[in-house]
């Protein structure tokens, strides 16, 4: 039986102002979680925080934080209470063939997708702000498991995240803190649709590679909901592909 009572849970979602992060936040808000969201776009964050405050008395707050900025991460950690759940979702996508990657692209991408999570979790652990029995969910990508041309640094960043999660799960199991990874295939999000390259060049052919068609944000949200809930209490260190069957043929 699915236990959907999040009202007594303090949960932080990063990258919460768009795409999958926003979908997860909306779900948690609907279930009256004591939710804190973070994002780097002030306008979006204010709009969503206002919306959540009106519909959920338990809503905690929206915190403006660029996860690439160590000071922002420190402030974020200072401002939150001890967590029952953490969703590490902040990330960017890049489509650059290996021949054309630049130092700036690599640094930006790895800082946002990988290093920011290292530092956020480190500071949370150091401040003892993750409760025993908490659940950490990391949003990765099936890109790390296949060889789609143009995704070298993005795929490498998600691969790094996958390895990190495995070790983190091992270290935190002693405190009964669970760490699981969700690896989605392509879902229709603003991030994907606004990427010039994907929207025109790849999207047209992309849906044919997914036996069940392209995913929707809600498909990912349900899985994250499960992983944050007590129903997944025996799961840690898992990396779950959710891809409409993409990996069956690739």
């Amino acid at each position: 039986m699915i236990n959907e009572n999040f009202s007594n849970k303090k949960i932080l979602v990063t990258g919460a102002t768009s795409g999958i992060g926003l979908g997860i936040s909306r779900m948690l808000n609907e279930y009256k979680a004591q939710l804190t969201i973070s994002g780097r776009n002030q306008t979006k964050l204010n709009k969503i925080s206002n919306e959540f405050e009106l519909s959920n008395l338990n809503f905690n707050k929206g915190i403006l934080a660029d996860v690439c900025n160590l000071e922002d991460i420190s402030n974020l950690v200072q401002e939150i209470d001890t967590l029952d759940g953490l969703v590490l979702n902040a990330g960017i996508i890049d489509y650059t063939p290996a021949k054309l990657i630049t130092e700036k692209k690599v640094i930006d991408l790895f800082y946002t997708n990988v290093f920011s999570n290292f530092f956020l979790v480190q500071k949370l652990l150091h401040s003892k702000k993750i409760k025993k029995g908490a659940s950490i969910v990391i949003i990765s990508s099936i890109a790390a498991k296949v060889g789609v041309p143009g995704t070298s640094i993005y795929a490498a960043s998600k691969g790094a995240l996958n390895s990190y999660a495995k070790v983190l799960a091992s270290e935190l199991s002693l405190q009964n803190i669970r760490v699981n990874v969700v690896s989605p295939g392509v879902v229709k999000t603003d991030l994907i649709e606004n990427t010039n390259v994907t929207s025109d060049f790849q999207m047209s052919n992309l849906s044919t590679k997914y036996p069940l068609g392209l995913g929707e944000i809600i498909d990912i949200v349900y899985l994250v909901q499960f992983l944050l809930s007590e129903n997944s209490k025996w799961m840690t260190g898992s990396n779950i592909d959710i891809d409409g069957g993409y990996l069956l043929n690739n």
Binding site: Y95, T96, P97, K99, L100, T102, P149, G150, N196, V197, D200, F201
Partner: protein, 78 residues
């Protein structure tokens, strides 16, 4: 304003197997044997990173020669 020779030099670098001398401003680039989807992606990234111009795949599709491509790119600057 895009300098034709600068663009042409960069465009040639996208190809690994094609003799650079075969690629001129009048070359119908999509007829080149090596033309493929990775080069299309590389061209899009090149335009964005080196020339700060967002080019759509349709613009590439609608251009026949390298010269057409430059004209199409310049139309994005207006």
């Amino acid at each position: 304003m895009i300098k034709e020779n600068v663009f042409l030099d960069q465009f040639r670098l996208l190809f690994d197997e094609t003799d650079p001398s075969l690629i001129t401003l009048d070359t119908k680039f999509k007829d080149l044997e090596e033309w493929n989807s990775l080069i299309i992606l590389s061209l899009i990234v090149l335009c964005e990173d080196e020339f700060k111009i967002i080019i759509s795949p349709n613009q590439i599709q609608n251009s026949k020669t390298v010269c057409d491509l430059i004209e199409s790119l310049e139309s994005n600057l207006k």
